[in-house]
Amino acid sequence: MNFDFSEDQKLLKEQVARYLSDNCPIEVVRGVLEGDDYYSSSVWKGLVDLGLTGATIPEEYGGLGLGPLELCVIAGELGRVSAPVPFSSSVYMATESLKLFGTDQQKEKWLPKLASGEIIATFALSESAIEPNPNNIKCSFSSGKLNGRKMPVPDGSYADLCITVVNDQKGGADKIKMAIVSLDELGVNKKSLKTLDQTRDHAELIFDNVDAELMNNSDDGWNDVQHIFDIAAILMAFEQIGGAEASLSMAKEYALNRFAFGRQIGSYQAIKHKLADMYIKIELAKSNSYFGAMMLNDDGADLKIAAAASRVAATDAFNYASQENIQTHGGIGFTWEADTQFYYRRSQVLGLALGSIASWKDKLVTQLEEKNIS
């Protein structure tokens, strides 16, 4: 039985944690929230210097050639500090898409630049508040040109490259594809959007006859998109767990130091049970996500159901921990000065990034039915 991360992976985790605690204290996150920057370029540069943007990029393309388990531990630490950087969009989604569905030429062109930090990439599926499905993707690709609108696109205001989910206008069963588009091309119109979490930029992108290139998708491009979402669900789960643990630890510190009615508020069962419930949800999320990580690493048959379970559990854990952290703080937790807000905001950005939980639960049960467990 070896259901744990290796010593090397734990060392990497410590290394990333140390870098972030030194270079990405909560003031940096606040700086991005209150300032004009879309992200913290200095924290990003540090992550690039550590090689982390190329963690899972093969060495032949200038990456570290590590596996998904390493990415999981990195994700956890980024979540713990609520890092204001485009890691989930550029690494979990765009880089993984390129690795899996890029042509050789596309990989040679872009992966080294992603590893070296020369460019930042993102992934665009959503077009409106209507849940995307293979029949409502309006963004179109034909004769090398991309037209349509995507929003909200994470880090869309400043990313250099976008993997865009498109309809190829041919009306076949394989009409959904992924297209690569440079966001500095003529005809790309970007508008930064006001969102719940301004520490992670989101933009509206309008493409007006923009040069783009199709990727090497399978016959079922929609399934390819789902596969990227499954991978991202597991990696994001680790990020959510990191954020949930940080929220719990913040709530605990406060409960130990705040006195009311002559005693520590952490001595009241109402608070103790609330914090115990945070812990329980976090452990359930961790255990499901460990299995997700294992399926990711083994490219296992249960990847889909493990991704859905990780997604459901980790979203529940982070949403609960971040909201009850504010509740534990009382009024002070609701102020702009308090740091509770960063996790509260981030919990929704991460929780909604891959579609609604209602949908993930439905997918989970569909998998259960297919596996014929019952």
Partner: protein, 408 residues
């Protein structure tokens, strides 16, 4: 990451498999005991199986060899249980004795006493029970009122214990009693072991809400116990009781119950709004939630086993098991009954869907949320021992026990 045995673990597993194949009874009818009406023949078969295991060293794998154990690690014990679970062997009767009572004896009794009692318990010749809970001492188990008073060199025990599993077929018991009512609660306790056939012990089965009887009330009237049956010093019984309670969480789990897969099966077979219930979004959402909880607990166990396999103590994550599974048992059963509409109230296995498993589970789950630590006490334990939050303010710590308010 993998779920594989190490080479050494695999060898042990093969050895256990081979032994079970040769020795485990093939009789499909031998189950555990889930009712108080254990027939003598069932007890006899349990004894036979226990003796076989003890001879092979598998009855107490983690105990030192001098006590008849195998001197092996907890992971070996888990491997044995995994393999044994594939057979329909007698189970349950010795869990409390070997899981809680004898480890307490081993920690506190004299060498001579252990030479006398450990082996017969290990071989299943003598069965032990635990006498802690009382009508006025449940979660607050240090609040026991059953008293022991000095009578020459002996002690006389008077009072009542409750929720004692197997008391009527047990040979010996361990008991915590009050020896000084003027001392504060925890300071006035002492701890004994005693012969359950002693004169003055009266055992009555408790009828549970479910109609079944798995436990007893035990009444003590001038039950004489020799002073050399005392474990620990007079007034230090709580310290001894903690040894037992530390082992309790290892011995008491939640039984296998109807889970998301049974619910899915039911949902495929009942109709809601003219569609199979499995097509209903609320039903799907609930199945997903319980799947996530069950799988979460399953993989939490894998994480703990990984620690055991490395020879480490499992982390605090193992403490969430019963807090999650007991309410899940109840909620899932209640939801499954709801899917059956008005017929959900049927509790006749011949008529009700899926032989009333959900109805029965719903009744028994109400007990599992209490047994071995209530949902609330377990949350206190997580908050205090895992998260390091302070204990609640205790108004009873320094007051003489007999001056504490006691309600009705």
């Amino acid at each position: 990451m993998d779920f594989n045995d190490t080479a050494e673990e695999n060898n042990f597993r093969l050895e256990v498999r081979e032994w079970l194949e040769k020795n485990a009874p093939q009789d499909k009818k031998i189950g555990g005991y889930d009712s108080i009406d254990v027939e003598e023949s069932a007890l006899e078969r349990a004894r036979e199986w226990q003796a076989k295991k003890a001879d092979a060293g598998y009855a107490a794998i983690t105990w030192p060899k001098e006590y008849g154990g195998l001197g092996a690690s907890s992971i070996h014990s888990v491997i044995y249980s995994q393999e044994e679970a594939k057979y329909n062997v007698p189970s349950g009767i010795y869990d409390i004795g070997l899981g809680m009572c004898i480890p307490t004896m081993m920690a506190w009794a004299t060498k001579e006493q252990n030479e006398r009692y450990v082996e017969p318990a290990l071989y299943g010749k003598e069965i032990w029970c635990q006498l802690f809970s009382e009508p006025s001492a449940g979660s607050d188990v240090a609040g026991v009122r059953t008293k022991a008073e000095k009578d020459g060199d002996d002690w006389l025990i008077n009072g009542q214990k409750v929720w004692t599993s197997g008391a009527h077929f047990c040979d010996f018991g361990i008991i915590v009693v009050r020896t000084d009512p003027k001392a504060p609660k925890h300071k006035g306790l002492s701890f004994f072991f005693l012969d359950m056939k002693s004169p003055g012990i009266d055992i009555k089965p408790i009828r549970q809400i479910s109609g079944g009887s798995n436990f007893n009330e035990v009444f003590f009237t001038d039950v004489k116990v020799s002073d050399n049956q005392r474990l620990g010093e007079v007034g230090e019984g709580w310290k001894v009781a903690l040894t037992t309670l530390m082992n309790e969480r290892l011995a008491i789990g939640v039984p296998k119950s109807a889970d998301y897969s049974s619910l899915t099966q039911l949902a495929k077979n009942v109709i809601l709004n003219n569609k199979p219930a499995i097509k209903n979004d609320l039903v799907r959402s609930k199945i997903a939630d319980w799947y996530v909880q069950s799988e979460g607990l399953k993989y939490t166990k894998m994480r703990s086993l990984t620690s055991l396999s490395k020879g480490e103590t499992p982390g605090p994550e193992s403490s969430i098991g019963k807090i999650v599974s007991a309410p899940k048992m109840q909620d899932l059963a209640s939801f499954a009954m709801d899917l059956q509409g008005a017929a959900g109230i049927l509790n006749d296995p011949d008529i009700a869907l899926m032989h009333s498993i959900f109805q029965n589970q719903w009744m028994s789950a109400a007990g599992y949320r209490i047994a071995g630590g209530t949902d609330e006490i377990l949350r206190n334990i997580v908050a205090e021992r895992v998260l390091g939050l302070p204990q609640d303010i205790r108004v009873d710590k320094t007051v003489p026990f007999n001056e504490l308010p006691s309600g009705r």
